[in-house]
Structures are given as structure tokens and as C-alpha cells.
């Protein structure tokens, strides 16, 4: 027989659906690239064909790696995330390349090249995690260790980090810098999942009466979670990273609801959050400024409100079908209209060039990621893994919702990234890790043997 049936060598499993979807992604990205080239050069040209081909090649390589690994993991996540990453790459190619410049030796890498490098690294992480991770014991057994490590990393950033745009989120490791709070997203989900799964019966059943029919879980069981959350929120608020605080809290509430099914607790949680937010706004001027800018950006149109106003104008210029890739974003005096468009406002840029139709399609992709994650969670063997998968998918979904709503001035703007589309190394790598874990935990186990067919002829093979 072939080597494939030897023990230790997994049998490759054909992933036809994934391949088909990847072909659709390739077609879409090629069309987008053509559209950008046509608008920009006025003739049928492809912008940076090498970048597009390398990216598509990386997607196919991940696909082939999953095929050879022979695990029956999800086939929809990779193409969906691949499309989002490809759109991000198109946007990076379309924006001025000098937004981000990094020197590696003698070569100077611009925005698109850097985004491509990070995307490929993220895909590598996703593939390695998806293929090698088989058990979640290493995550669930050491939940307090993980939580402590995450908070330690955050504290380290606060002490040793460098300030960028007034928030201290960046930690420099020699030539590269990273944002540890991105990794904290995954670590907190692991902690919440392990903790909530362990205590879900107590949280749901052993209730303490407060007033009338209003009951809450007993305080001793809530304390660790509350403490953990307060600590994370505190550090994040001190570091002025409101987006991350909102994200952690929203994901925690979602997981709490999934674990206990208690709507009252979620309502209480939202109430507590609103109270806390008002208090924060009273105490911290930077929170107050954010709210004021959100309520009336036109009070300071050239200062704090500038970004928001320009984003709204961009969405308005885009209309239903958009101006077309490469046709939007007129520069004002040689400057981009929206500051930090590649990290905080990619959706506004895409809204202008692809219109509402394009934005809805992109948001649809995030919805697919969440739906897929929840399905993986529903099929999970136990509570910890179910909550873990749901939490990981929700981190991506909630993050996209928060920044999309911020771009559209539905909620105060918070500086978090649009997953897979925004420029940003740490964000892309951590999102790659999340996709890898979701893929690994979606493994449906080895293919069951085929049902034996009744032999047509009595004298057939052996046996």
C-alpha cells in the first residue's frame, strides 16, 4: 500500500469546497486589482501582480497544507478570511505607500509590501496552529497562568512601552514593535471560557436574591471574573485603549450569556457598563473628549472632529456603488483626507470606493466568520471548548462591529483595528492565531469507515 496508510502518516483529505471558494476569492481579487489598475492608469493594467500572486499562492499553500494534514477541519473560514485579507491588501496597494515605511537592511518596504508580509505570516501561523493543535488541555488547565501572563505582558507594556498617538500600547522588540493587548484578547477568551464552563452551573442555579424577583449569582463565584475584568479594564483605561476595553467587556457578556443563558445578568452587565462609562467620562478628560467628538464633531471640524467628519464625507461620496477602487480619497494639499486611514478608518475608505454594496459584503464576511465560529462551538465536545470557539469568533465579530460603528459615528470612535483589513502586524498575527485555533477545534475527527455494502455476488472477495 501507499505510505499514506502507514501509521503516523495521515491520509490526505480532499477539500473541494474550500478550493472552490478559494477560486471565487482569486477571481474577486483579480477583478478588484484590474479595477484599481484601470482607474489608476487608464488602461487594462494589473497593479503589483507579484503581490497578488504571492498572496493567492500563500492561500493555496495553506489549503494544500490542510489537505496533506488530513484533518477534517472547517472549509469556509480560510476563504472568507482570505477574501477579507485580500481586500485589505488591495486597499494597502491603493493607499500612498509612504504611510508606513520600514527599512530591512538596504530595502525599503512600503505599506503594501509590509501588509503582504504580515498577511503571509498570519496565514503561516493559522496553518501551523490548525495542523498541530489537537488538544485544548494546554489552554484550559492553566487558565490562571495564562491570565497572569497576559496581564503581566500588559503591565510590562505600560512600564517599558513607547507612546504612539498618546496611548501607550506599543512594546519595542529591537527593530519590530508589537501591541501585546492584541494577544490579551485571545488570553482573556481562554480564561473566560475555562472559568465560565467550570462555574456555569453555580452561576446559573445558585442565585442570591437582591430585590423582589431580581437575583444575581453569589458573590464568591463572581469575584474572580469581576476582579479579572476590572483589572483588565483598569489597565486598558489607564492606557487609554477604550476600544479594547469595550471589546473585552462585550465578549465577556456574550460568553456569560452563552454559559448561563441568563438575560437578567446580561442586562445588569450592560447597566453596570453604562454607569461605569458615565463615571469614566466624568473622571477622565480623554473619555469625555471622545464622547463630545462623537456627539458633535462639527464643533471642532479641523481638530478633534476632523477624522470623523472626513469619514462621513467619504461614506457619503461613496453612495450605493462607490466611486470605484482608486477613484476616491482626493488628497487635500497633498495629504490624505482621513488621518490613520490604513489602521482606524479602512472601512471609510472602502465605503467611499466600493460604496454601501461593498461595505455590506465585507460586513457579511465577518458575519460568516461569527456564524461559522458559533457552529464550531455548537458541535464542540464540551463546555470549555464550546465557549472558547464562540469567544474566539466573537472577538473578531465584535471587533469588526465596534470599529465599523465607530467609523459610521454610531458609537464613539475607538482606535481598534478592522480584523484582517487594517494595517497592523500584531493585529494580523493574532487574528491568524484565532483562525488557526478555530480551524483546529473544528476538527471532526477521522472519517468514519464507509458502511459495508451487501455483496452482489455470493462469491466475491475474501471473507
Amino acid at each position: 500500500m501507499t505510505a499514506a496508510t502507514l501509521p503516523g502518516f495521515p491520509r490526505p483529505i480532499v477539500r473541494r469546497r474550500e478550493l472552490g471558494l478559494l477560486l471565487a476569492v482569486a477571481a474577486a481579487l483579480a477583478l478588484g486589482n484590474l479595477s484599481l489598475g484601470l482607474t489608476r492608469a487608464g488602461s487594462l493594467t494589473v497593479v503589483d501582480p507579484a503581490g497578488l500572486l504571492i498572496y493567492l499562492g500563500a492561500l493555496v499553500a495553506v489549503h494544500l497544507a490542510l489537505v496533506t494534514a488530513g484533518r477534517r477541519v472547517d472549509e469556509v473560514l480560510l476563504p472568507t478570511v482570505g477574501l477579507l485579507g485580500g481586500i485589505g491588501l488591495l486597499l494597502a496597494e491603493r493607499l500612498p505607500q509612504d504611510l508606513v515605511v520600514q527599512r530591512v537592511g538596504s530595502t525599503v518596504l512600503g505599506l503594501a509590501s509590509l501588509q503582504l508580509v504580515w498577511l503571509i505570516l498570519a496565514l503561516v501561523i493559522a496553518a501551523v496552529v490548525a495542523i498541530t493543535v489537537r488538544s485544548d488541555r494546554w489552554l484550559r488547565l492553566y487558565k490562571y497562568t495564562w491570565a497572569a501572563a497576559g496581564l503581566g505582558l500588559l503591565a510590562l507594556t505600560f512600564v517599558l512601552g513607547t507612546d504612539v498617538n498618546g496611548t501607550r500600547l506599543t512594546l519595542d522588540f529591537g527593530p519590530v514593535s508589537g501591541q501585546p493587548s492584541e494577544l490579551l484578547k485571545v488570553i482573556l477568551v481562554v480564561f473566560f471560557a475555562a472559568y465560565l464552563a467550570e462555574n456555569r452551573v453555580l452561576l446559573a442555579d445558585a442565585r442570591v436574591r437582591v430585590v423582589g424577583r431580581l437575583t444575581v449569582p453569589p458573590a464568591p463565584y463572581l469575584l474572580p471574573a469581576g476582579l479579572m475584568l476590572a483589572l483588565a479594564l483598569g489597565i486598558v483605561v489607564i492606557q487609554k485603549d477604550l476600544g479594547a476595553a469595550l471589546l473585552f467587556y462585550a465578549v465577556f457578556l456574550c460568553l456569560f450569556y452563552l454559559a448561563t443563558g441568563s438575560k437578567v445578568d446580561v442586562a445588569l452587565g450592560i447597566g453596570l457598563f453604562l454607569v461605569g462609562f458615565v463615571l469614566l467620562a466624568l473622571v477622565f478628560p480623554h473619555v469625555r473628549d471622545r464622547v463630545a467628538t462623537w456627539l458633535d464633531p462639527w464643533s471642532d471640524p479641523l481638530g478633534t472632529g476632523f477624522q470623523t467628519i472626513q469619514a462621513l464625507h467619504a461614506f457619503a461620496r461613496g453612495g450605493l456603488l462607490g466611486t470605484g477602487l482608486g477613484a476616491g480619497l482626493p488628497t487635500i494639499g497633498g495629504q490624505l483626507p482621513i488621518p490613520a486611514v490604513h489602521t482606524d478608518f479602512p472601512l471609510a475608505a472602502l465605503g467611499e470606493e466600493l460604496g454601501m454594496a461593498g461595505v455590506l459584503a465585507i460586513l457579511g464576511c465577518y458575519l460568516v466568520v461569527v456564524a461559522r465560529g458559533l457552529r464550531i462551538a455548537a458541535a464542540a465536545a464540551d463546555d470549555v471548548r464550546a465557549l472558547l470557539c464562540a469567544g474566539l469568533a466573537l472577538v473578531i465579530g465584535v471587533q469588526a462591529a465596534i470599529i465599523a460603528a465607530g467609523n459610521l459615528k454610531l458609537i464613539p470612535l475607538t482606535g481598534i483595528t478592522l480584523p484582517f483589513i487594517s494595517y497592523g502586524g500584531s493585529s494580523l498575527l493574532v487574528n491568524g492565531l484565532i483562525v488557526g485555533l478555530l480551524l483546529a477545534f473544528s476538527d471532526r475527527g477521522p472519517l468514519p469507515p464507509r458502511e459495508p455494502r451487501r455483496a452482489r455476488r455470493p462469491a466475491g472477495g475474501p471473507g
Binding site: G32, P79, V368
Partner: protein
């Protein structure tokens, strides 16, 4: 309208259309999965319903059974029992021929079927009650 503008428009719209084509393909895949899940043969052989339990799994939990289903506190068990009186590898349910058998795997506190301790492989009928530690479960017919 000159052909260039026309081409720009056509390709722009084709790009948007291709995004929606992708979404349509994905949604089709998701719907297929949901339909396949509702036809899933898991649990066709039988189901284990938890009647009473002081810990996890909670009362009311339903476990579709594979032909070989292990029960115990070990996280690798098919049905993980988080009960202090359960052993790591407590018991195994096997589907042999046309019926279910239960076998105690040398557990510390034993396995009871309808209140009687199990010795050796004992046939288990649908409706029989299985008790491990404080967890009481009932074997039920599978969903066909």
C-alpha cells in the same frame, strides 16, 4: 460614452458582483452544513439522557452514543463525568450486534444498572437506568 469609462464601470460592478457571488457560495455551503447536521447519523444507535446529577453534566443533558462510548472523569472520555465518585476511566458502553452492553472498567465506586452493581459485560436495554457516582442516566432509543 467612451469605451474606457464603460470598461471601468463594468469591471467595478463585476468586482462588487464577485464579492456577492462569494457570499452566495458561502451561504450555500452553510445551509448545506445545517441540512447535513440535521441528517447526522450521530446518536442513531442510542442516546444517554442525564436524569439527575450533582455536578457536570447537568440533568437534562443528552449524549448521542457512538458504538463504543467511554464514561469517566478523564477528559478523553466520550462522556466526561465531573463527579467526585467517578473514576477516570469508569465504564464503557458498547453496541454489539443489536443491543447495548455496559462494562465496568474496574472503577473504585462501581457502576449500577437499575440499582444493581455491574459485574462483567451486562446487556443494557433502552429505558434502563445507569448510575455512576451521583450521576443517573437513562439509555434511550436513538433518533432515526
Amino acid at each position: 460614452m467612451d469605451p474606457l469609462t464603460l470598461a471601468v464601470w463594468a469591471i467595478r460592478l463585476a468586482f462588487l458582483a464577485s464579492l456577492y457571488l462569494f457570499l452566495a457560495l458561502v451561504v450555500r455551503a452553510l445551509l448545506r452544513d445545517i441540512r447535513a447536521a440535521s441528517r447526522d447519523p450521530a446518536g442513531a444507535l442510542g442516546r444517554l439522557v442525564v436524569i439527575a446529577s450533582a455536578s457536570l453534566p447537568t440533568a437534562g443533558s443528552v449524549f448521542p452514543l457512538d458504538a463504543v462510548t467511554t464514561l469517566g472523569r478523564d477528559l478523553g472520555s466520550s462522556v466526561v463525568l465531573d463527579d467526585p465518585f467517578s473514576s477516570a476511566r469508569h465504564a464503557v458502553l458498547t453496541y454489539r450486534g443489536r443491543g447495548w452492553y455496559v462494562e465496568d472498567l474496574g472503577s473504585t465506586n462501581g457502576t449500577l444498572v437499575n440499582g444493581v452493581p455491574v459485574a462483567g459485560a451486562l446487556p443494557l436495554g433502552f429505558g434502563d437506568e445507569l448510575q455512576i457516582g451521583d450521576v443517573r442516566m437513562r439509555l434511550e432509543r436513538g433518533l432515526r
